[in-house]
């Protein structure tokens, strides 16, 4: 080998090693110069966030940046925790009118056995759109029937469902039978039916408790017969054993009161969702200690007397009463609008800081993942959004999104089609 060839080879090897290290995601990233809104703790102007191995290593004003760290220049940008959608259908729906693409609704009334994370489509066109608006995690929830199934918490990035799942079972969803007061003129459920359904719920929970007892008894005494396998009861066991909370969708004042009673009597861990008339019974909800996930605020309140802005006012009133809350988009195609529900509530009385918490730390707390996410604090996963303004604002542009410390692609079907037709 000639000297020239040798040098050439060495240079090649050095270049190769460079490129190799560049392909691997940098283990340390430093976001420099951003205005940091950690959500928990004081805001930091022109601060630094250090990311190491997917976690937030440090957040502060004067942080030492280790050598070899990838530096993201964030001067003039605002750093927020990635937002968390309190309930949506991301990955479970592509085109709402085509049932072949809809997988969050099962037939039948009692379906505790179905889990949304088992129907997840990681490649859904809606996920990148939501993600590119700063949403990094979401609760994907089932609907329909009386007991709809189990929701799960996912991160909005991943090639397979496994890669996306943060928590495969977050809550058991129940659509609370409603007394016909929130319905428009024609009452679809006569009063007896509603109370019959509540009875039914209590029945089946009782049966599950008894099922557990028999199982326990049979365990202790091998002579006893095992109870016959019952799918519905089997999957309700974590609920009656207090391990799995129920998420109850409920709206009207009297229904909320009935639901609070139900939860108390059945000794369940609970979260309420929807709760559009919650402002009428905010005190009761506060006393019960049950947190609330607001649905989309974009409906016209059915009762004229409640006022045109009843749904907008609702979060502010509930927050003032001390109820723990979070926001949700309740959608797949409009999941990206999560921050704007929070902003709308802020326009109508909710404190702006609380609104931001309602899409970050509060949902994290409600879903029991607040040690992992929901704020920019050391030790939490590096779910970070860099934007050129307030992320609850409509005109803000998101510049970078990090999930688990890795920057994610901000392109989506929106940008792809746009680029394609720009070429015309």
């Amino acid at each position: 080998m000639t000297k020239r060839t040798f040098v050439f080879a060495v240079i090649l090897i050095i270049c190769a090693s460079f490129s190799l290290t560049q392909e691997k995601s940098p283990s340390v990233i430093a976001i420099k110069g951003a205005n940091i809104i950690p959500v928990v703790g004081e805001d930091i102007t022109e601060g630094t966030i250090l990311i190491k191995d997917g976690l937030i290593e440090a957040v502060g004003k004067n942080i030492d940046i280790p050598a070899g760290a990838k530096i993201i220049k964030a001067e003039g940008l605002f750093a927020y925790p990635g937002m968390i959608d309190g309930s949506c259908y991301l990955g479970l729906e592509e085109i709402s009118s085509i049932s072949a693409t809809v997988d969050y609704r099962e037939t039948g009334r009692i379906n505790p056995q179905v889990k949304t994370v088992e129907a997840l489509r990681p490649d859904s066109m809606h996920i990148p759109i939501s993600r590119s608006n700063g949403i990094t995690a979401a609760l994907v929830a089932p609907s329909a029937g009386l007991i709809s199934g189990q929701s799960g918490l996912i991160r909005l990035v991943g090639w397979t469902p496994e890669e996306m799942i943060i928590k495969s079972s977050v809550a058991m969803h129940i659509q609370f039978p409603s007394l016909p007061r929130l319905r428009r003129r024609r009452e679809t459920q006569p009063r007896e039916q509603a109370s019959k359904q509540v009875k039914e719920l209590k029945e089946i929970l009782n049966q599950a408790r008894y099922y557990q007892k028999r199982k326990d008894a049979a365990k202790k005494n091998s002579g006893l017969h095992l109870p016959e396998f019952d799918e519905k009861l089997e999957f309700l066991l974590p609920v009656v054993n207090g391990e799995l909370p129920v998420m109850i969708s409920v709206h009207a004042e009297n229904d909320i009161k009935a639901a609070i009673k139900f939860v108390k009597e059945e000794k369940l861990k609970a979260i309420f969702s929807g709760v559009t008339e919650g402002w009428k019974v905010a005190e009761d909800i506060k006393k019960s200690g049950i947190p609330v996930i607001f649905g989309s605020l974009n409906s016209v309140p059915p009762k004229w007397e409640d006022g045109y802005d009843a749904f907008y006012r609702n979060p502010g009133v509930m927050a003032k009463a001390g109820v723990k809350f979070a926001f949700s988009s309740g959608s797949a195609s409009l999941a990206k609008d999560l921050p704007y529900h929070a902003a709308k509530a802020a326009a109508f009385g909710l404190d702006k800081k609380e609104a931001l918490k309602g899409v970050t730390i509060y949902p994290a707390q409600i879903f029991g993942v607040d040690k992992m996410m929901g704020s920019l604090e050391k030790g939490k996963v590096a779910n970070i959004v860099l934007a050129d303004g307030d992320i609850l604002e409509l005109r803000t542009n998101i510049k970078h999104v990090f999930i688990d410390g890795k920057e994610v692609d901000l392109s989506s079907i929106y940008t792809e089609l746009l680029e394609k037709f720009k070429k015309r």
Binding site: R185, S195, K199
Partner: protein, 543 residues
């Protein structure tokens, strides 16, 4: 000879019988109503007067002393009674037996190829009420009880609902009742189902097109009649035939106006096609009085139905406002129209039963309609509108003897109709049995109950609260105090649920049984067991 004589006698007898049998309508007695107060409606009231009825007509009427009582008259002593013209209800759906309607099937417009297309015929202008009359004795009695002696029977279903007939309620046979048929064509701003027009916008276009087509059809026919040579003969069209008298010859067309926009729609069509239009229903007339004043030539027949229509803001801004609308605002319709100088008749259109009529007239009077106006609106004005005022609508000599005798002033709450004359035929009103009001069972209060189970008897105390027919409360025993929930009392049937906690276990027990004022009996079901419950009311003051 004897046989011959007998035969002759029999023949004569038969002939006489036949003669009397085939002579004209039955002879009605001559009546002299004496000593009553007469309110003729046209003309001043007569404090103490006499009315002579003969051959179905008012022969004469006047103050006591001025009128001589004929020999053959049956005298009706009417001291303290009031004589009014029989009331005219210019819109009723009584006495009609409509062809059976196909049951509504939910869902879409299209039906399966196997089933016949479920088109509802909404356009039957040729449906004549006179062919569908089925008078019922009870309906006749109900009307007489409230002083109504003449009714316009109106078919109500469909866009072109059909043609009405005017009846004098003189018995329970159809033909003798008919005064005039057809009276008018009746139009509703409704839709057809399963076919065009299936929306209100479609109905408006359809009505216009049908009027245009009728005009075209009629002129084509006349042209053909005048000179048929070289002209293709017009095709017979039963629909357009039926409409022709109304569109071309300007027979009356009644438009049912469910809300204020319907009034505008009707007036628009009447103007555009120069129809002889009438407005009916119109319980929102008070909201468009300026427009009605501009169109004062169009007769107005307002209904005594005070329910705000579904489109009204009064029906859509909360229960409180809706109630106020039905109790105060809409009842003031007639009073408002009167204040603006508008003339109108009052009808029972939309009311569920005849007994609602006097109730609602009273409401209208309470809301400001002068009593005399209310009376006019149910006598001479509808008579004028319906073109029968030359022989109906007031107490005048020569007019038909449609008279009501009341115990007090008409439309007063306590006033009862004592006797009714229709076509001079007398109908006496019988007293209803006293004090037979259906009472609602009230079980609110304290009860002592014994629950019998296979394990023995349990003494309990019930504290019951009742709101309408919703029952709640509690049941207490030495096992604890449990809540009573979801209780419903339907007549005497009682169903409720007891939220029991037994040995720390929550258990729902369902009760069903019967309840009287002072006793409750029934069965409690808990899982597979059932227990008897017998409860007796604890009178107030006892414990």
């Amino acid at each position: 000879m004897k046989i011959k004589e007998n035969r002759l006698f029999i023949c004569l007898f038969v002939v006489i019988l036949l003669f009397t049998a085939t002579s004209s309508a039955r002879v009605t007695p001559t009546y002299a109503i004496v000593n009553c107060k007469i309110i003729p409606v046209t003309g001043s009231p007569i404090e103490k007067g006499i009315i002579i009825i003969r051959d179905g007509l008012i022969e004469s009427l006047g103050p006591q002393g001025k009128i001589s009582i004929p020999e053959d008259a049956e005298i009706i002593k009417a001291e303290g009674l009031f004589a009014y013209p029989g009331l005219i209800d210019a819109h009723t759906n009584l006495f009609l037996e409509l062809p059976k309607e196909e049951p509504r099937r939910p869902g879409t417009m299209r039906t399966s190829a196997a089933e016949p297309r479920q088109k509802e015929k909404a356009q039957h202008p040729d449906l004549a009420a006179i062919k569908l009359l089925k008078p019922k004795k009870t309906a006749v009695a109900d009307l007489h009880k409230i002083g109504i002696t003449t009714v316009l029977v109106v078919p109500e279903r469909g866009i072109y609902a059909g043609q009405s007939v005017l009846l004098n309620v003189n018995g329970d046979k159809a033909e003798p009742m008919v005064i005039k048929s057809p009276v008018a064509l009746h139009v509703n701003f409704t839709t057809a189902r399963g076919t065009y027009p299936s929306s209100l916008m479609g109905t408006m276009a359809f009505l216009r097109q049908s009027f245009l087509d009728t005009e075209h059809y009629s002129s084509y026919k006349s042209q053909f009649t005048e000179s048929s040579r070289g002209l293709k003969r017009p095709e017979y069209n039963p629909f357009l035939e039926a409409l022709s008298p109304y569109v071309v010859k300007k027979s009356p067309v009644f438009f049912n106006c469910a809300n204020l926009e319907d009034i505008k729609r009707a007036l628009g069509l009447i103007k555009e096609f120069k129809l002889n239009g009438f407005l009916t229903g119109a319980n929102e007339a008070w909201r468009v009085t300026e427009l009605l004043i501009k169109n004062a030539k169009v007769p107005l027949l307002v209904s005594l139905n005070f329910k705000p229509p579904m489109t009204s803001i009064y029906a859509n801004q909360g229960e409180e406002l809706k109630k106020k609308a039905e109790e105060e605002i809409y009842p003031a319709n007639a009073a408002n129209l009167h204040k603006k100088g508008l003339t109108f008749a009052l009808t029972s259109q939309g009311l569920k039963k005849p007994s609602d009529i006097p109730k609602n007239v009273q409401k209208a009077i309470k809301a400001g309609l002068p009593k005399e106006e209310a009376l006019k609106a149910m006598t001479i004005i509808p008579a004028k509108f319906l073109g029968v005022s030359s022989f109906l609508g007031s107490l005048e000599p020569g007019k038909i003897a449609n008279i009501i005798l009341t115990s007090g002033e008409i439309f007063d709450e306590k006033t009862r109709v004592e006797r009714v004359f229709v076509d001079g035929i007398s109908f006496e009103m019988k007293e209803p049995p006293k004090g037979e009001k259906p009472t609602k069972v009230n079980i609110a209060g304290k009860w002592s109950a014994t629950v019998s189970s296979p394990m023995g008897d349990l003494e309990t105390t019930l504290e019951i609260e009742q709101d309408g027919n919703e029952i709640s409360g509690s049941i207490s025993s030495n096992m604890g105090k449990w809540e009573i929930r979801d209780g419903i009392l339907n007549g005497n049937e009682l169903a409720l649920s007891i939220a029991a906690t037994i040995m720390g276990e929550a258990m729902d027990m369902a009760f069903s049984g019967t309840a009287e004022k002072d006793s409750i009996e029934g069965t409690i079901a808990v899982q597979e067991w059932s227990m008897e419950l017998k409860a007796k009311r604890i009178p107030d003051g006892e414990f």
